[in-house]
Amino acid sequence: MRYVIIGGSIASVGAIEGIRKFDREGSITVISDEPDPYYSRPLISYYLAGKIDRAGLYYRKPEFYQRNRVQVITGKACNLAPDGVVTLESGEKIPYDKLLLAVGGTPLLYDRLAAGRDNVVGFYTLEDVERIRLQVMPGIRVAVIGAGLVGLKAAEALYYLNAKPTVVDLAPYPLSGILDPVGGEMVERHLRSKGVECKLGMEVSSLEGTPRVKEVVFTDGSHLDCDMVIIAAGVRPNLALAAGTGIDTGQGILVDEHQETSIPSVYAAGDVAQAQELLSGDKKVVPILPLAWEQGRIAGMNMAGHEAVYRGSLAVNSVSLLDMAIMTAGDSRAEGLCAVGDNPPYYRKIVLQDGGVTGLIAINHVDNMGIITGMIRKRVRIEGHESLLLQPRLNGVDVRSCLPTAITGL
Amino acid sequence: MLKLQKAKFEIGRDFDRCVGCGVCVNQCANEVHFRDPYDESVCADDIKCVGCQRCVHLCPTGALRVVSFASRTREHGLWTSTVINEIHLQSDSGGILLSGMGHSRPDTVYWDRILLNASQVTNPSIDPLREPMELKTFLGRKPPLNRKNSLDAPEKYPQLELEIPVMFAAMSFGSVSLNVHKSLARAAMSQKTYWNTGEGGLHPEVRAYRDRAIVQVASGRFGVSPEYLEEGACIEIKIGQGAKPGIGGHLPGEKVTGEVARTRKIPPGSDAISPAPHHDIYSIEDLSQLIYSLKEATAYRKPVAVKIAAVHNVAAICSGMARAGADILVIDGYRGGSGATPLRIRNDVGIPVEFALAAVDRRLREEGIRNEVSLVVSGGIRNSADVAKAIALGADAVYIGTAALVALGCHMCQNCYTGKCNWGIATVNPRLARRLNPDIGTLRAENLLRAWKHELAEFLGGMGMNAIESLRGNRLMLRGLGLTERELEILGIKAVGE
C-alpha cells in the first residue's frame, strides 16, 4: 500500500500515527513545502518570545519520521490526478493508493497587504517567525493586524521582547471569534493594563510606505505609525489543489465521517477539511490543532483499512495571555448564564441548550474546566445545577454528586 | 463573664517540623486547630481540645503533642483539680455534667486483684500450639438436670454457638456510625461470635450479618418490628446499662438523620428518647410477659436475653429474670460504657461487675438453676485475662463494647455525646463517619478477637486445661491479692498463698 500525505503538519503527524497503528508495512510519503515539518504552529509565538528554543517547537521527537519509516519530499504539489498520481512543481510524479490532503490554510489579507513590503510578515509558519526575529528589537512599534488567538499571542510575544505592539481588528473587541463582548472587553482591559494598545472596530484600508511600511491607514482616515506589521487575520482553507479535481468543496474540502472526500481513497484532514461539527451536526472548518491531529489520525486509520469514525469537531480553545487564562468551548458566543468577579478578573459563562451545556467561556479560575468540556461532549443534562458550574472554583465533588452522569471513569 | 473552665490539654507544636499541611485543621471536628487568616499559619485553641489524639496520629511529621494541661490548682487531697474543674464547669453552664464511656475514677479494678493459676509438676500444662484447644461456648437455656430425658426436644433449647466467649456489646446505630456496625458485624461473622444491634434497629446494609446479630429491644422500642425480631439470632431485652443504671437514653434530634430515623422507624430530626423504665414492666411477672411475647413472636426459635445494670441486689433480680424465662442473663457492671451519660450517674451508681457476677453465680447455684441459664457479663472487660477471670468466676461469656471501639480507633476522649468523634466512631456525621473504613475496622476487630483467642488458649493450656468449659465457674483457679476477707468471701475465692 502506498500512502501519500500532502502536508507535513499536525494532521499529517496524526495520519502517520493512524496508519502505523494498523499498517507497519505500507510506504508513507509526505510531501511538504516547508523544510521543517511537524512543528507545532501554536508554539511559534512562544518561540518568538524566547520561551522555548527551536527544538522545543517540534510536536514529535526528531526520530519520528525515521521510526515510522516515512519518506519526506520537500516540494509543492501542484496537480492531483484522481487516478492516483500527484504531480509536484518540480515535475516529479508520485503515485498513490491512498492520499491525504493535509494542506492547511492560507493566511487571510496577507497577499493583498504584504506585496513587496519587507516589514510586513504573516504569523503562520516558522519561516514567518524567523523573519520577525531578524527585525524585532526593543522599542519597535508593531501593528498586529488581527486580534484573534494568533494575533494576541504574537502581540504577547512582542510585549515580552519589549517591542510596542498595537493590536488592530475590525471587531469591536479581541478574540471576537470565540468570546462574547463581556469576555472580550475583559481581555481588552487586561491587554491595556499591561501596556498593549488596541485599535478595535477599525478597518484597515491600506499600509502606506514602500518598501517599508510606515503607517497603517484605516478606513475612517486615521492612521497608526509603525515600524513593522504582522498580519494574523486568520486563515482560509487551501483549496488550490482540490480545484478542478472534482473533489467536493464548500468552505473547505468536504469530508465524511471517515475523513474521506467525495473521491474515494482521497482523504482530507486539518485546517483544510470541512468535517462534521459535534454540536450542530453541520460540516464546518474548525482550524485548531487538536482537531487536525484527530482528523489526521482518523483519516490514517481509515486509509490503513481500519474503520474509524470521527466524533465531530468541538471547538475548544485555551490560551494563557499575559498571565490571563482564557478558555472557550463549543458555542461560546451564544447567550448564556454568567458569573463575573474581580481580583483577578474572573468571567464564566455557560451556554445552555435543551437542558445541557453547549458552550463555555472561562477567564481565570480555570481549574477543572475540562469537566464542563466533558459535559458538552457527553451532552449531560444539568437542569437545576447550573449554579454549580458558575462558581469560581468548580467543585468536582459537588458536580459528581449532583450530576452523576457528568463524569464517568475509565 | 470570665469562664472558669480550664483547658484539659495543651497542644505542643514543633514549628521546626510543622510543614503547615493542615491535616490537623481538617481532621479536628472540635475546631482546635485553625489557620490564622492573616498569615496562613496553623494555630490551636487549647480549650476546645478533648484529647482524642487524632491530630497527633495524622500529623505526617510528628510535630504535634497533646499533653495534659500543666497548670494545676494547689495540691489538695479532696479538692483536686478535677473536682474544682467540674464545679467551675457547672457554675459556668448550670447543667448536668455529661460524659461518654464508662466510670472514670481510679477505683480498685478487682480483675487486677484476682490472679490465675498455672500447672507445675503435679499436673502437666498443655501447649496450645500443639494440642487442640476448645473455646466453643453455647449460650441459651439448658434443660434442668432433674428432668428425665433431659435431652429430648432440643428444639426447645435454641442456642448461640460461639467460637470465642467474647461478643460485641450493644451499641446502637446512631450512637455509633454504620461503619462501626459493619466492622463489628463482619468480624463477628468471620470469628463466629455475635454482635449486638443496640436499641437502634438493624440497618439494611448490615442485614447480611443478621445470622450473627443479637437484636435489642429496649424501653424506646426503636426499630422493633416482627421482621427485626425475626432477623436476629437472639433477642436481648435491655432493662439497664452499667454506665447509667436507672436512666434512659436520649439521642438528640440532630443525630437522628435520615438513615438513623429510617432504621429506628421514627421521624427524622425527632429526639429518640428511651424512657428510664420499660413502661410495661413493673415486676418480674411483667418481664416474663415481654419475654414470652418475644418468644411467641419468634416461635421459640431464638434465645431471649435480658440485660441489666449491676446494682445492689443484682443476685435476687437475676434469679427472678431466670425464672421469668430469660435464657441468657446479661449483667453490665458500673464500668460499662455509653455514648452519653450523666457524669455523676456514671461514676457513682452501680457496682463492679466482678462482685455482681460472683453474687449472681452463687445465688443461681444455690437455687439450683445456674445450669439452666447462661450468664454474660460486661462493663470494663479490657483484655483476655479479664475474660478468663470472668469465666472462672462463673460467666459463660463476656460482651466487649469499649474494648471493641478502642480496637477501631477510639482514644477514650469520652466526648461521644458531642457527635464530633474525630475517629468516625461515635458519630453519624458523614464527614466524620467516613473516617472509619469498615474494611479496616473489620480487620482490627478480627485481629483483637484472634489475639484474645490465642491468649485464652495460653491461659487454659497453662492451667492444664484444653477446653474453656473446664475453667467455667472454676474458682479454684483464682486467688485474690490484697482483698479483704469479706471481698474474698463474696467473690468466692481464696487469697493468694492459700
Binding site: 497503528k21 487564562a325 468536582g396 463524569i407 | 510543614v19 458523614p430 473504613n437
Partner: protein
C-alpha cells in the same frame, strides 16, 4: 498485546479529606522525597500531581488524579507534544520541559485531573503513577485505604505513538 498497567482506584466513600495523599505526592515529586520537612520547607513548595476536593457542605471528599485514559483528551489537545501516553505502561505523562502552560489539557480533561493554573508555575502537572515506587506515594500515605492500587490488564495496540 495485553499489558498489565497500574491504576489508582479512589474509594470516595472513605476519603476523609485529610490531604495526606496530596502531601505525599508533593514530597515524592520534590527534591527531597525522603523528608517531608525538607521537601516542604526548602525553597518553593513542591507542586502536587493530584488534588483533594471537598464538597461545598464539607461532608464529602475526593482524591482526584489522572485516570490514565486509554485515549486521553490531554494528549490529543496538547499543542507542544508535552503530553504523551506511554503505550507500555499506559501512563499519560506531561513533560515539564516541553509544557508551555497554555492550559489546553486543563480544558480538555473531563476528570479535572490536571494541576496547573492555580500553582503559579506556568506548567501543567499530572499524576505519573510513581512508577519507580512500589506503591504510588498517595496510596501509601492514605490512612483510610481510600486509595487502592490495582493492576489492570489492558489490550494495547502494537504501535507506539509519540
Amino acid at each position: 498485546m495485553t499489558a498489565v498497567v497500574r491504576r489508582v482506584e479512589a474509594q470516595d466513600e472513605y476519603c476523609m479529606g485529610c490531604g495526606l495523599c496530596r502531601l505525599a505526592c508533593q514530597v515524592a515529586h520534590s527534591a527531597y522525597p525522603l523528608s517531608i520537612v525538607k521537601a516542604m520547607k526548602t525553597g518553593s513548595r513542591p507542586v502536587p500531581r493530584m488534588s483533594v476536593e471537598s464538597s461545598a457542605d464539607g461532608m464529602s471528599f475526593r482524591s482526584v488524579r489522572c485516570l490514565q485514559c486509554e485515549d486521553p483528551e490531554c494528549v490529543k489537545i496538547c499543542i507542544s507534544g508535552a503530553a504523551t501516553r506511554d503505550e507500555e505502561t499506559g501512563v499519560v505523562l506531561i513533560d515539564e520541559q516541553k509544557c508551555v502552560g497554555c492550559w489546553s489539557c486543563v480544558i480538555a480533561c473531563p476528570e479535572g485531573a490536571i494541576i496547573g493554573p492555580g500553582t503559579g508555575r506556568g506548567k501543567a502537572y499530572k499524576c505519573d503513577l510513581c512508577l519507580e515506587r512500589e506503591f504510588p506515594a498517595c496510596v501509601a500515605a492514605c490512612p483510610n485505604r481510600a486509595l487502592i492500587l490495582r493492576e489492570v490488564e489492558v489490550v494495547e495496540s502494537t504501535t507506539r505513538e509519540g
